[in-house]
Symmetry: C2
Subunit: 252 residues, 2 copies
DNA sequence: CAAGCAGTCTTTGTATACAAACCGGGCATG
DNA sequence: CATGCCCGGTTTGTATACAAAGACTGCTTG
């Protein structure tokens, strides 16, 4: 009962390994449509940066590349357009949405607030088991705080934030936050490599958990906002240094 | 330069007559695709409640009804699914997403926070002309505060909130907020009819504007949060009274 | 030599055709 | 009488075909 209606069709991130999106456990049908598979694949390539912003996405080309007809490709592109990952002008095809620096700053600002909101709610609403789970993810973060294997920390970090999303007890908020996080992912990956960034991140996580432990919603919210904002700042700094960042490019 | 990339393809509602999101004036191409027109039309019918939650959306039926082939209908449905307005199970067609009471409460919670955030940012960032514009919309609200013509107040109210969105100087945030507002629209319309609700709303607006006038971001944020939360509360009250609200329904 | 224009060519938008999967009813059977 | 299977209808998913609208190239012309 209660038609859910707020989880998207193909909400990415299934095999997050340790974490595993706990909320999205709605067992989707086991017959994925071609269009959905394509959507995930293209989404992945955009997220990983294999398709940089501004790339022209030719329907026939993609169709040939994936060995399918244009129809599912078209639907995948349409879906991505609705999600904002690609931009389509009426008779001009689709290009992957290259975000300007201004766009990114705005999105990071919203991201910080959404995460902060999740944290505030989590501080008030988390159950005992959820708190335990959160502590575990914090522990994992410290375990994985090894600059030589940034992927491990990336995973642990993700699980930590997912635990907080779940703790907010607001699946809609969690989904929105997840979506935005996903969208910003390619721009966040870069700044994990900063010197000492991982240790700082861990300390910030610990601070957040401490505030949640004490059910101090305001402190927790503030700590999380700072945590995300710092990331955004380091990103902006990094972006400002590279002049050739997002201002590209017609095509090959 | 600066590929925008964050405005959707078909920001809904161009010729909605009364409603009409005013901000979507981004001069889109003058050749709207059939699929986009369909999307808008179906979206409109969902928003106005002409298609209640759980309605089965048959592709061939819609195609016949609009006098087009299945392809654009299919794309419109796909787009709506990505936006979360309809839900599609892989081989089972699309139904309009009926929101459970729990879903609605969660979404209203996020809505309140997003509006509050817009307001906080607006209090800090609005230019002089934007402030003037805001004052004008407030004035219009008082002008239209006539319970006999709820549509006029609906319009004025919308313009007021749009002015605040614009004042946030964060187009991404504005777009997200607008989207959620749109999504909740059918559930908000009902509670404007409450006795004295319009006057209360006006007073709350005035309070918000006063806080913005004084550049008191915190007060403004709180006032807006309360403003939206009150709406949500009256809705929840109303919904709780009607037992047969959204609690349906597996299928036919 | 530059600019405008026309023709072609690619690419998208739409329609239609075909195949596969789900839903339902009816019938046989334990 | 209940249950399970089979079969047909309906509907979605995918592929292909056709039409129109930009984009590009090359030519003509001032």
């Amino acid at each position: 009962m209660a038609t859910n209606g707020m989880n998207q069709n193909a909400s990415s991130a299934e095999e997050t390994g340790t974490g595993g999106t706990p909320a999205g456990a709605a067992g989707n049908g086991r017959k994925p449509r071609l269009a959905d598979r394509l959507r995930c694949q293209i989404e992945e390539e955009i997220a990983t940066g294999k398709l940089p912003g501004g790339t022209r996405l030719d329907e026939t080309g993609l169709a040939r590349r994936f060995g399918v007809s244009r129809t599912p490709v078209r639907e995948a592109l349409s879906s991505l357009a609705s999600a904002g990952l690609v931009e389509t002008r009426p008779r001009q095809g689709a290009i992957v949405a290259g975000l300007s620096l201004s766009d990114l700053i705005q999105m990071f600002e919203v991201m910080a607030e959404l995460e902060a909101l999740c944290t505030r709610l989590a501080a008030r609403r988390m159950t005992a088991t959820e708190r335990q789970q959160l502590e575990r993810t914090l522990h994992d973060c410290f375990e994985a705080a090894d600059p030589t294997r940034p992927n491990d920390y990336y995973e642990a970090n993700l699980a930590f934030h997912e635990a907080i999303y779940a703790g907010s007890h607001n699946t809609y908020l969690a989904e929105q936050t997840r979506q935005l996080r996903n969208r910003l992912q390619p721009y966040r990956r870069t700044q994990l490599t900063g010197p000492g960034r991982i240790e700082t991140s861990c300390r910030e996580h610990a601070e957040i958990v401490e505030a949640i432990r004490q059910a101090d919603a305001i402190s927790a919210e503030g700590a999380m906002r700072r945590h995300v904002t710092i990331q955004a700042d380091t990103f902006a700094e990094l972006a400002a240094r590279l002049p050739q960042r997002a201002a590209d490019v017609d095509d090959a």
